[in-house]
Amino acid sequence: MRTDLPRTKRLFAALAVTALTVVAGAKAQAADIELNLYSYRQPFLIKPLTDAFTKETGIKVNTVFAKKGMLEKIKAAGDNSPADAVVTVDIGRLYALKEAGVLQSIKSDVLEKNIPAHFRDPEGMWYGLTSRARVVLVSKERVKPGEIKTLEDLADPKFKGKICTRSGKHAYNVALIASMIAHHGEEAAEKWLDGVKANLARKPQGNDRAQAKAVYEGVCDIALSNSYYMGKMMTNDKKPEQKEWANAVRLTYLNQDGRGNHMNISGAAVTKSAKHKEAAVKLLEFLSSDEAQRIYAEDNQEYPVKPGIPFSKVVKSWGDFKVDTLSLEKIAKLRPAASRLVDKVGFDDGPGS
């Protein structure tokens, strides 16, 4: 009992000091601008860009990376959310953020000039920064040029046991299936997906690179992949075995005689609760600038959205191609339906189930 009183006092003192420090810290932060960025992209991908931004503007960028839970975190914090901006891959996340009402509409001449209309939200809630094509990587040895031309061909029985892909539930595949629903309706898309499943060489597994590797190993002949992975494998000096995988396959754009190849984007948005809106807009504008768009193209082998910025040398070697200009918002809205189709046909159970 003797020690109780001072201990309580000490505890209160400690609490008071802590509270004061936190408050003082919050005040100090407001003085010089530091931008808080939620990133669905890996920090090592985003850092060269934020570093360049800091160098140009003097605005420091604090990044935190996560693949899920960001939306709920921003929503729960409400007006007090420290997040100023969000960068994501895949249209699905951008759309979900918009639907949750945690973004704000941005009007910027720079952004409108740099980013073509079909790569940004009509209300200015989000802006696409790079685009990527979901393509097939086919065996140079076993698949003749022109043998596979469309997404629809993937369901052709002649490719039985020849196709490899990652999980049908991965965001990239869900978006691809959503685009099939948008073009052909749900029923036809289901029949198609069932056909693709029957053609699988193995149960869906691994990431996109692993599919190219499987073609190299002779497990399958056709691999679904995002375009930039091919570029990254081709230029991987640290893991030269990936160059061999890339060397075994040929990147093939699909639906070139028709609607064009299915596209997805990585993008960015400003949160509704942004404490540094101006700086956040500045960051988005910077990310759409020549300098940043070049970094995206060269470092990550993606297609810059800004017209006139050249593709990387590797990407150029695949030639020009026609893109599917289907509205990204439409794709995003059809994601739940696409995900259900994956369940319905039991896509991830693999062939013969």
């Binding site: 936190v22 899920k68 999980s167 149960k203 597994q205 590797k213």
Partner: protein, 569 residues
């Protein structure tokens, strides 16, 4: 008798002291349990928003597949950890064979290896392009896949193997402690009555250690329920995969919360089932005679088998991954150097240490509170709070962030109104949120371990201490605390190591610019760039060795009442 007034007072004070303190413990237990369970309650509240079409869809399509695979995974891991954990624990405590002293502590080592890292290493070695199959092809002249058969590592079997290798130390640690704390006398009695060593194990030692073993297996199986990274990597779609799919692809957080709620109910039912199966059985020892363990001497082939059985999980679960990580770390060490590696490591260590201390403290309060017999309500609250371990981390993180942000916003509004100062997010925006998440997740680890330890202390001890005038708190501090020191150390070790590896909660709840070893590893691992993450993963493993060493040096050596007297007394 020389103070008549005291005698007159005694019945009344005793009645009061028996009622009041136990009531206080009851209230404290309830409040603390509810505090830890708040994130789970938040998830349950999200689940209240209806999402009927989701259920119909799942029921018609994948629900049974999810359930079948989840149950298979749980059963496989339960069986695997039981065989490995109990078998090795029995060998090192009761038998004498070359290397026993080494195995005694080394068997804990795989605990320090994150499951997703082991999953990667196994795939790396065992897939078609891996070292094993390449060597086989060279040896037998096979040219391609069609020439031979090899088990597919990315499968249910692969997932069970990998998770068992990382999780069996739970069972090992608890079973080992239980075997050590058993009085040798009961085994000797059983031997005297004509049972052989195996029969003594099955009929006496094992049933006596059952509560501890069950706790270990429950922990391992709950880990199987909450895991996403490993099963996803192996392409095994369990219930957790379904939760994430409904949440992120079907845009239904309430549907996901409902699935998580079903998971919680399932776990509670399982725990209750097991408890009712051994209701009325008491497991503590009345004899304090703890002779030196007899040590069945193993020779020749039997010793060889024992060595092989103990070495296998260490080689596969620790040495192999450590070697692979080491070799990658050498090539890719610059990746780690570029990051602020020292700060990241310190962050991990301090967070995990803080969480371990908090979890053990709270675990002790709750376990002791229940021992004091605080009635059904606190009991139910504690059981519920420890279900957090079975809930997928990301879902639990949402359960943490929602109430905490509400609380922060209320404080912020109040402070702005009263003082004109806006403190912002005091808790949800700081590491406090991560600590809270760890507590909500790992309470089962600390509480389960402490409770198992307390369960072995005879209630006669409490009675004796209380009769001698000690308060419940004094009884805990002076009687139970020293007696269950081993269990407390074990609990702290488990929580520490698990926090070092923890990913989904850390990644969602951390403040801006705050990295731990696990998040550092994840940013590469999420892109399947495991080589780049090797040094981070290796550091997690190395940091896990610290508590293992402490445990080896202190508690592993000692036995309560070591070598005092014979059984005849």
């Amino acid at each position: 008798m020389s103070h008549p007034t005291a005698v007159a007072d005694r019945p009344a004070t005793r009645a009061l002291s028996r009622f009041l303190p136990s009531d206080r413990w009851g209230i404290a237990t309830l409040v603390v349990a509810l505090f830890v369970a708040t994130p789970l309650i938040a998830v349950a509240i999200i689940a209240l928003t209806p999402a009927p079409d989701i259920w119909k869809h799942l029921y018609n399509t994948v629900l049974f597949g999810y359930v079948r695979r989840t149950v298979t995974l749980m059963f496989g891991i339960g069986l695997g950890t039981f065989i490995l954990g109990t078998g090795t624990a029995w060998l090192v405590t009761m038998c004498r064979f070359p290397g026993r002293g080494f195995f005694n502590w080394a068997l804990i080592l795989p605990l320090a290896v994150p499951t997703y890292i082991l999953a990667f290493v196994f795939t790396d070695q065992l897939e078609y392009a891996g070292a094993v199959q390449v060597a086989l092809r060279d040896m037998f002249g096979w040219r391609n896949r069609q020439d031979y058969w090899f088990p597919e590592i990315r499968s249910m079997g692969g997932a069970i193997t990998v998770m068992t290798l990382v999780l069996y130390p739970y069972v090992y640690l608890l079973a080992r402690a239980a075997f050590l704390e058993q009085s040798v006398c009961v085994i000797e009695v059983s031997r005297t009555l004509g049972k052989n060593a195996w029969q003594s194990f099955w009929h006496v030692a094992l049933p006596l250690a059952r509560p501890a073993i069950v706790v270990g297996m429950t922990l391992a199986m709950m880990e199987a329920l909450n895991d996403f990274g490993t099963v996803d990597f192996f392409g095994v779609r369990t219930f957790t995969a379904g939760i994430y799919d409904v949440w992120l692809n079907m845009d239904s957080i309430s549907g996901a919360a409902q699935l998580a709620a079903v998971l919680m109910i399932f776990v509670i039912a399982l725990i209750m089932l097991e408890r009712s199966a051994r209701r009325g059985q008491k497991y503590h020892h009345t004899s304090t005679k703890m002779q030196a363990l007899p040590g069945y001497k193993l020779r020749g082939a039997r010793a060889g088998l024992a060595i092989a059985f103990c070495a296998l999980p260490i080689v596969l679960g620790f040495i192999l991954p450590a070697m692979v990580l080491l070799s990658y770390s050498v090539v890719f060490f610059d990746v780690a150097l570029k990051a602020n590696f020292l700060t990241i490591t310190l962050n991990s260590l301090t967070l995990s240490f803080g969480a371990a201390v908090a979890a053990v403290g709270i675990g002790l309060v709750l376990a002791y509170g229940l021992r004091m017999g605080s009635g059904p309500l606190p009991r139910a609250a504690v059981r519920f709070a420890s279900v957090g371990y079975a809930v997928p981390g990301a879902v639990l993180a949402i359960g943490v962030i929602i109430p905490l942000a509400k609380f922060d916003n209320a404080i912020d509004a109040l402070s702005s109104q009263l003082f004109g100062v806006s403190p912002g997010l005091l808790f949800s925006g700081t590491v406090v949120a991560i600590l809270y998440g760890y507590l909500a997740r790992f309470l089962a680890l600390s509480f389960g371990t402490v409770e198992a330890g307390l369960g072995k202390v005879s209630r006669n001890m409490d009675g004796a201490a209380r009769t001698l005038g000690a308060t419940p708190f004094q009884t805990m501090a002076r009687v139970h605390f020293p007696l269950v020191r081993t269990s407390l150390m074990t609990a702290g070790l488990l929580v520490f190591v698990d926090c070092m590896k923890e990913l989904p909660i850390t990644i969602i709840l951390r403040p801006f610019g705050y990295d731990t070893l696990a998040t550092f590893v994840f940013q590469y691992a999420s892109d399947e760039l495991f080589e780049e993450s090797a040094l981070g993963a290796l550091t997690i493993v190395a940091a896990g060795l610290i508590p293992v060493a402490i445990l080896a040096l202190t508690t592993l050596r000692s036995r309560p009442g070591h070598a005092t007297g014979s059984c005849s007394a």
